[in-house]
């Protein structure tokens, strides 16, 4: 599935180098914005695994993002920092478990049903946390202390430090990218790509396709949980809107905007969409209108996303897909 043009790969490597140097001279605002974008890129990559990897379009993916953020906020003690060594596994476990339960129902369906089911379950979690008193209702909750990264009683990373959090996000983004790449090259990845192209054939070959789809759904949910963990750590606050379908739609938009043919697509999409959003917000109070028009125009005019702009061999590739 990966048709990342070489030029794009080189540009991406350059971008990582530039990002790594950035905290030396960039302003506080830029660092914060880029940290958020990289968090969204991780989230978008996890959804990209479902959409372009397995061919499952989820409109409720923000649910696992929100859950990750909430689990960290709720599990952290009020008077001291949570240790990342138990908090992160807890967040990953909770998101994966939620994805297992929702996925077990959802992967039995496909097409429109799958879209609507994921949307409905995402909204269910939204309302659950929106109405729950223990989670702060519609106001959400604050995280009093950012998680501590300690080793042998020594603090090795201070997440309170803005550049450090930036580097952690950058590292996690690159790691997620590499991990998903490895997964797609492994037999598991070949199998889910096969399911996307022709599920009945994979079934006929003896694959339990539902189990593969469910596994991919759980992995995507767990990665989304990690993104939620980063979000809660950065903003030290969570609210029910993180679960909402509007968030899910935006993440889906990032995946499409970047382009489904390249594994870099979701990352490009996350950068492009958040920057466009920032631009519109700076220009007008009614930026959501501009976003809506932007979404419509992109969907109609750029079926292959931004990564497709770099790909001159597109027609040949299409003939390949047959």
């Amino acid at each position: 599935m990966d048709r990342t043009p070489r030029l794009l790969t080189i540009l991406a490597l350059l971008a990582v180098v530039v990002l790594a140097c950035l905290p030396q001279f960039a302003e506080r605002y830029t660092i914060q914005l880029l940290t958020r974008i990289m968090t969204m890129a991780i989230l978008a990559m996890s959804l990209g695994l479902l959409v372009s990897g397995v061919g499952l379009v989820s409109l409720g993916h923000a649910a696992f993002f929100g859950l990750g953020a909430y689990v960290l906020a709720l599990a952290s003690p009020a008077n001291e920092a949570a240790s990342v060594w138990w908090a992160l596994p807890l967040v990953i476990g909770a998101s994966a478990l939620a994805a297992l339960v929702i996925g077990a129902l959802a992967v039995r369906t496909s097409g429109i049903y799958f879209i609507m089911l994921t949307l409905a379950f995402g909204q269910m979690l939204f309302y659950l946390f929106h109405d729950a008193k223990f989670a702060g209702g519609s106001d959400g909750r604050y995280l009093n202390f950012r998680p501590a990264v300690e080793f042998m009683g020594q603090e090795i990373l201070t997440l309170n430090d803005r550049p450090t959090l930036f580097y952690v996000s950058l590292a996690l983004m690159v790691l997620t990218y590499l991990a998903i790449g490895m997964m797609l090259r492994a037999p598991f990845g070949r199998a889910i790509l096969g399911i996307r192209v022709n599920e009945p054939r994979m079934k006929a070959l003896g694959y339990n396709t539902n189990r593969y789809k469910l596994t991919a759904f759980v992995i995507a949910g767990a990665i989304a949980g990690i993104a939620g963990f980063l979000y809660a750590t950065q903003y030290r606050a969570v609210n029910p809107a993180l679960f909402g379908w509007r968030e899910s739609g935006l993440v889906l938009m990032m995946v499409i905007l970047g382009g489904l043919r390249s594994r870099l697509g979701p990352v490009i999409g996350a950068f492009a969409l958040v920057l466009v959003e920032e631009l519109f917000q700076a220009l007008t109070d009614h930026w959501l209108m501009a976003m809506g028009v932007f979404v419509i125009v992109v969907v109609l005019l750029l079926p292959d996303g931004l990564a497709g702009l770099f790909d001159r061999k597109r027609d040949a590739a299409e003939a390949d897909d047959g």
Partner: protein, 288 residues
């Protein structure tokens, strides 16, 4: 629990269910015939509610508001189908989801530009004002009964149109096999436009008659949209009969959820959906 109280809750549940059916029927038909997933369907409900608020404030009567607003909504549905939805027939669901998602953002922001963020109320027509007193503490608003009556009448009309007329036959056939219907010389394009506009009109009408029951507020369309998705999924995509039964089921589940487990009332509907889908993944009347 007091049997009278339970009876009133059943009435409430049925009324809500009937209202949901008006919206969900359009949604399920658009899936069935146009094979388009329309996230912006809830926007027509919102547009109806705001038209009711705005026109009632201008003309002083909900009747006039509906008489002016309904044709407006139908025309808007027609335009949206001609300009936007038509482009989506050949595209995949992913494109449809995103394009109609973009439409929601545009409609919502247009609402905010025109009417702001305030919550508004709409007065019920005078002949339906007041309520029936049942005991010292219990009473039932007449307007709710009127809404149920109007919805039931519309359900009956829809049933007659779909089951007993040639147009209805074309719609039913279109939901089963679009290509064959086209091959038989029926103008499926015109049929699609009609179904979409009618669905938009029904959703807007639902928004108008529901406006006096609940307030009119930003985001009103999104809430109802998700619930209607649940209805369509439970009933089976493309099935009007399924949508009807599912709408009543969801209406009752939601109403009793609010009474019995107020803490988690918003989750009851989804729990019902989960149980039904465990049993039948394609919905009650869906084709697998």
């Amino acid at each position: 629990m007091d049997p009278l109280f339970v009876a009133l809750q059943i009435l409430n549940g049925i009324q809500y269910g009937l209202l949901l059916f008006l919206i969900a029927s359009g949604l399920t038909l658009v899936f069935g015939i146009l094979q388009v997933i329309n996230l912006a369907h809830g926007s027509f409900y919102m547009i109806g509610a705001y038209l009711a608020f705005w026109l009632t404030a201008r003309t002083g009567s909900l009747w006039t508001a509906i008489a002016i607003g309904l044709p407006l909504a139908l025309v808007l549905g027609l335009i949206v189908e001609r300009v936007m939805i038509r482009l989506l027939y050949a595209r995949d669901h992913l494109t449809q989801v995103l394009l109609t998602y973009g439409l929601i953002l545009v409609f919502n922001e247009a609402q905010r530009l025109l009417f702001g963020n305030d919550v508004h109320g709409v007065a019920a027509p005078e002949i339906f004002a007041g309520s029936i007193r049942l005991t010292d503490t219990l009473s039932y608003p007449i307007y709710r009964l009127a809404v149920s009556g109007v919805c039931l009448a519309l359900v009956l009309v829809m049933y007659l149109v779909i089951q007993k007329t040639r147009l209805g036959m074309h719609i039913r056939a279109g939901a089963v096999d679009r290509e064959t219907v086209q091959l038989l010389g029926i103008n499926i394009q015109a049929l699609s436009t009609f179904v979409f506009a009618a669905g938009a009109g029904l959703a807007a009408l639902a928004g108008m008659i529901a406006a006096p029951l609940s307030s009119v507020y930003p985001g009103i369309g999104e809430h109802i949209l998700i619930i209607c998705f649940v209805v369509v999924v439970i009933g089976g995509i493309g099935s009007i009969k399924g949508a009807f039964i599912a709408a009543l089921l969801v209406g009752l589940a939601d109403t009793f959820g609010k009474v019995l487990i107020p803490e988690f009332s918003s989750v009851t509907v989804y729990a019902v959906m989960a149980v039904i889908l465990l049993w039948r993944p394609q919905g009650l009347f869906g084709r697998a």
